[in-house]
Amino acid sequence: MKAKASQLWKDEDGLEGLVREVLGTKSGAPPRLASSDGIAGRLISMASRDYLREVDRFFSRRELRKLFRILEASIVEFNKQRFRTKPNEFSRIAEELGAQFKATPYRDSDGIGPLGFYVNDRGTLKRPLICLNSAHHPVAMGSAFWHELGHHICSQIFGRNREAVTLQFGEDFDDHLSEPLELAADMLVSVAAYPRDVAKRLFSQSAAESAPNAGATFSELREHLRSGWGFDFSTRAGTPENLVYLAGMIHYAKLRSALLTGYDT
């Protein structure tokens, strides 16, 4: 029996195993977590959302094509290469698009801190600022950069005052599905993380049909993180940010899959 892409996200056993692994609680009998159970419930809820329908609610094909045309004209590597995580790359891209880039570390006492923020306030700064929390893993910083860059580009398209300040923590990805500007910024991340060729390999229907089971596809996503950016959940088990990163992995993969299948992007 071969899995379809839509089944992957409903694989609660696979997701449950991932949750247990990222929390560093491998031992113990395997729990059967219902959707009403807190952490697994929120992740399962996110995993079972129809992302294509959510994108369709806010964006027409024409609008998305326009947005992506602008992005591809502005950023040469967009949708061709997966994003790099060197700070000088972030600086270069930000500068080319008229923004300033900065990375400074911050940690709360329990380890969780904001991923980054974007400020477009001429009263305080000469240029819009994209600031990242460098205490996070580089791949999380990369995701945060492209998200905030998305806000910067949207502010240029939709008008400066629309996006004076944004702040990103990463624990509220599902909220983004009901906020068009957040969703637009996330679309940028998903394409930067999964450029077209990679997305076709991972998310196209034919790819889904060749996957032996849903768990293997989660494995492919993890392999994508590992080979591309050296990120490995298993070596970070129990770290406070891990759940946020897991939520991000699911959110961006689902969004990219929706863009590929629904908009051929």
């Binding site: 113990g28 929120r42 900065k102 300040v165």
Partner: protein, 143 residues
């Protein structure tokens, strides 16, 4: 409950139920040494075990989960509760701490900008406002 450690909470509840570590372990289906490790905060229980402990000792499952895995709070906290209490509290704490504002020379314009940050409903700690403020100042100096 939130100011105690997981181990303290389990130990206290076990005492209140007049159970030995061995008796509690039998109810949970684990070894007594595992209970001892949890009570001394040397081991974090699995999600499955959190549930069993909560049920066996009549503790709140969610509170116990947060004690065992504090990071989980960020994914499971009710959003309405977050919007109603935590961010507003953080902003109130920040703006009412006059000594902190004076020590950091926070200007009226900066305060206005940080208020916009607070209105996003995401910031849950006063220190996070300082992080944003300092980053913006550094960026302004470099510009």
């Amino acid at each position: 409950m939130s100011k105690k450690t997981l181990g303290q909470v389990v130990r206290q509840a076990r005492d209140e139920h007049e159970l030995t570590q061995r008796q509690l372990a039998a109810r949970l289906g684990v070894k007594a040494s595992h209970v001892a490790y949890i009570e001394s905060n040397q081991r974090r229980p699995s999600l499955w075990l959190v549930r069993r402990i909560a049920d066996a000792l009549e503790l709140d499952r969610e509170e116990l989960l947060f004690l065992a895995h504090p990071e989980a709070r960020y994914l499971v906290t009710d959003r309405a509760e977050q919007a109603r209490e935590t961010p507003r509290d953080a902003w109130q704490q920040f703006v009412s701490d006059k000594a902190l504002l004076k020590r950091n020379d926070v200007t009226r314009a900066e305060l206005q900008l940080l208020k916009q940050v607070s209105m996003l409903g995401r910031v849950t700690r006063p220190n996070q406002f300082l992080y944003v403020l300092r980053s913006i100042r550094q960026a302004a100096e470099e510009n």
